[in-house]
Structures are given as C-alpha cells and as structure tokens.
C-alpha cells in the first residue's frame, strides 16, 4: 500500500514538473488556447448575467437615490458639456502647436473592445480572461482601460481569448505621478482590490482626493491614464518614503466591457 502511495506521489510530482517545463517552453499554449476558447463564451454569459442580476437588485433598493442622482448627473452633464467645448478648442490649439514643433502625437491610439469572460478564481490574484485574442489583433503588452481608466495589461494571448493582469494584482507595479502636482511614485496592487502609491519622498506634501495617473516612464503604459484617487496618506518618521492608498475609480469586481489600446 505504502509503495503504491509513494508511486502516486512521485507521479504527481513528475506530472506537475513536466507541465511546468513544457509550459515554459511554450508547448502548452495550444492547450490553454483550446480550453479558454471552449469555456470563454459560457463565461461571458455567466459574468454578464451575474452583473445584470447584481445591477437589478442594486437598482431595486435604490430607486429614490437614483432619482436624486439622476438630477445631479444632469446638472453635471451640462457643466461637463461646457467644459468639453472649451477643451476641444484647447485640443485644436495644442495640435496646431505640436505640428509646429514637430512633436509626435502620442495620444493617437486604436482600440479594441472586449468582453470579460472570467475573473480570477482565487480572489487573491487579480486577472481576467477576455473574449478577444490574436485573431482580433490583440498582442501581449497591450494596455486595457475601462471608462478611460487604466485597468491592466495583456499578458497571455491565445487565438480567441486573452488574459489580462489587472493593476490591483499584487504583482503589478506602475510608475505614476499625481495629476495636479506631478509628484512621482510607484503604484502597486494590493491583495484585495486595493492600490498603494509608494516610493514618494517624505518632504513632498500629498493631497487627499487628488488623482494619480501613469507617468509613462519605462514605456509599458501610455502617459496620463488615471489609476485612482488618493484616499489615505501614511507617513512614518523613520522612513525615507511615504505612501498613499488609492481608491480605484472603476469597480474591478463588476467589469464587463474593456477597451484595449493598440499602438499605432
């Protein structure tokens, strides 16, 4: 009996070892691709119906709030429309100046829309699988946004599906700056859908409520994409750096559609 048990134990180790070996050599991509291709369409149905149900139950309990919110949003839209008109004038002016100075127009990106099929099953890592892949023009390293806010980066691409590591993943780290004062730091994901901006010098003064955007350093992410808003600032007397916890501006738990930015 013991011999059989150890034989099984070693077989498990050999199976897992060879899996890891062949995957590192890239031999497993067709199997991964096949699995996600078969399961992704059903995943889309599940996740979209789940978010539909969630919003239905949410709306039932919030009818009064929705009416008030609707009124304030209308006012906000009017204000934003006026600002937009002003901004478009500024963009035109900016473009003319850029042309004059022969600057590269770094805001010209093509985008691909994709639907979320699966969320990470562990609830510890933060990743999603989307229903677009190589055949739709996706490639590894593409940046994913939702409502104009950075959500992650494509890591694995298969024929019809792709895996995206979200910015809230503990392995994600993005060079960032604060939007108003340009204070530089490093935004890292935290286990449990949080974001923390670290490596900020002690002497600078951070402001709560300020937006943090990508700095564009390293070239992995385009400059100026919103990451989150400063919620809490942590300063320690015996430390060289201070840190700030950020509140993500999108709900990472109910992502449904995302936009993937293609470099021109």
């Amino acid at each position: 009996m013991k011999k059989v048990s150890f034989l099984i134990f070693f077989s498990i180790i050999i199976i897992i070892g060879s899996l890891l070996f062949f995957r590192s050599k890239g031999s497993f991509s067709s199997i991964d691709s096949g699995i996600t291709r078969i399961t992704a369409p059903i995943g889309v149905i599940f996740s979209s119906s789940a978010s539909g149900l969630s919003s239905f139950f949410g709306n039932l309990g919030n009818i009064g709030n929705i009416q008030r919110e609707n009124k304030s949003l209308r006012e906000k839209i009017n204000r934003l429309e006026a600002e937009k008109a002003k901004m478009s004038q500024l963009v035109k002016e900016n473009e003319a100046l850029r042309k004059d100075l022969n600057f590269k127009n770094d805001s010209g990106y093509e985008t691909v829309m994709a639907r979320v099929s699966f969320f990470d099953p562990t609830n510890v890592r933060a990743s999603i699988v989307v229903n677009k892949g190589v055949k739709d023009g996706l490639y590894s390293g593409m940046v994913a946004t939702s409502e104009g806010i950075l959500v992650g980066k494509v890591t694995d691409v298969y024929d019809r599906t792709a895996k995206i590591i979200l910015i809230t993943d503990p392995f994600s780290s993005i060079p960032s700056i604060t939007q108003t004062f340009g204070i530089a730091g490093l935004t890292q994901g935290q286990v449990g859908t949080g974001l923390i901006m670290s490596q900020i010098p002690q002497e600078v003064i951070l402001k709560k409520g300020e937006n943090v955007v990508t700095s564009g350093l390293g070239g992995d992410y385009p400059k100026g994409l919103i990451l989150g808003r400063i919620e809490n600032i942590t300063k320690k007397n015996n430390s060289m750096f201070q840190s700030a916890s950020l509140r993500p501006l999108v709900d990472f738990n109910s992502l449904e559609w995302i936009q993937l930015i293609k470099e021109k």
């Binding site: 199976i15 897992i16 599940f46 996740s47 149900l53 099953p121 510890v124 935290q190």
Partner: protein
C-alpha cells in the same frame, strides 16, 4: 451517471467561482467552492476518479487564473493523495470529525501556500494582505463546513443512484 453529475457540478462551480461570486461577494470575500467540491470528491470518490477530477479541474483553473501555473493542479492532486493516505480505502466510512478536519486543513494549506508565493515574489506584502488571506481562508472554511451536510447527502444520493442502476 455519477461521473457526469460530478462533471456538471464542477463546471457550474467553476463558472460561479469566476463570475457570480466575484459580483455577489461578502465585502470582497467569497468562498472557493471549487476547492470545497474537490475536497469532497477526494473524500468520497474512488482513487482514479478523484485524481482525474483533481487534474482536469486544476488544469482548467490554472488556465483561467493568473498563476502560478500548476498551483491548482498541485494542490488538488495533493488533496486527493493526502485523503487516500490518511483515510481507509472504504471512503464511505470516513467519520464526521475527519471530514471536518480535512475541510478545515485543506483551505488553510491552499491560502497559506498562495500567501507564501505572493510574499516571496511580489514587491510588497503588507499586514493588510495577511489579514485578507486569513479572512478569505476563514470564509472558505465556514462555507465548506456549512455545505458539508449537503455535499455528503449529495454523494450518498449519487451512490444510491449508482447502486440502483447496478441492480437493474
């Protein structure tokens, strides 16, 4: 028949795990129901059947998950291996205490391994992350204990179905 039923249960739980539970969570925490079913399969199904389930489910979970690749396969297959090592060949005789102990130990092992991996490989692992892992593990343990009587009844019902089919 029972194999088909178990495949459907596993598939539905994977879909629930990767969509519904993410949205209908308890303040960002939700149980790992796939792990709970794998523990039950490890306890109540034949060796080869349990290993096959552990491997296929692990492969599917690893493909969807951000990794580390092979983590789910390893944990699920080790769960089956340990269950075979600890409990007698007649899995129907597994006592309630053993069942509960196993259902508590495996989620703790699962989340501890994942926490160690993240702590060793990611840039930072603050105290809040430790708390997160503790609560996440506790939620899975509580759900697994709450589901235990139902899961046990389900497997008993599957056995009865199989026996009836054999008699026919």
């Amino acid at each position: 028949m029972t194999i088909l039923l178990n495949i459907s249960i596993i598939l539905v739980s994977i879909y629930l795990q990767t969509s519904f539970l993410k949205i209908f969570n308890i303040s960002v925490f939700y149980p790992n129901i796939v792990l709970i079913f794998i523990i039950s399969i490890a306890l109540f199904r034949k060796n080869y059947e349990a290993y096959a389930f552990a491997f296929c489910t692990g492969l599917l979970m690893d493909t969807i998950s951000a990794g580390p690749y092979g983590f789910h396969i390893a944990i699920f297959m080790l769960t089956v291996f340990v269950s075979n090592l600890l409990f007698s060949e007649d899995k129907a005789l597994v006592s309630n205490v053993a069942f509960v102990a196993f259902q508590v130990a495996i989620p703790i092992f699962f989340y501890t391994s994942l926490a160690i991996y993240i702590a060793m490989n990611s840039g930072s692992f603050p105290f809040s992350s430790v708390t997160f892992f503790l609560i996440q593990g506790a939620v899975t343990v509580v759900f697994s204990l709450a589901m235990a009587p139902f899961v046990r009844r389900l497997f008993d019902w599957e056995d009865t179905l199989d026996e009836r089919r054999k008699v026919r």
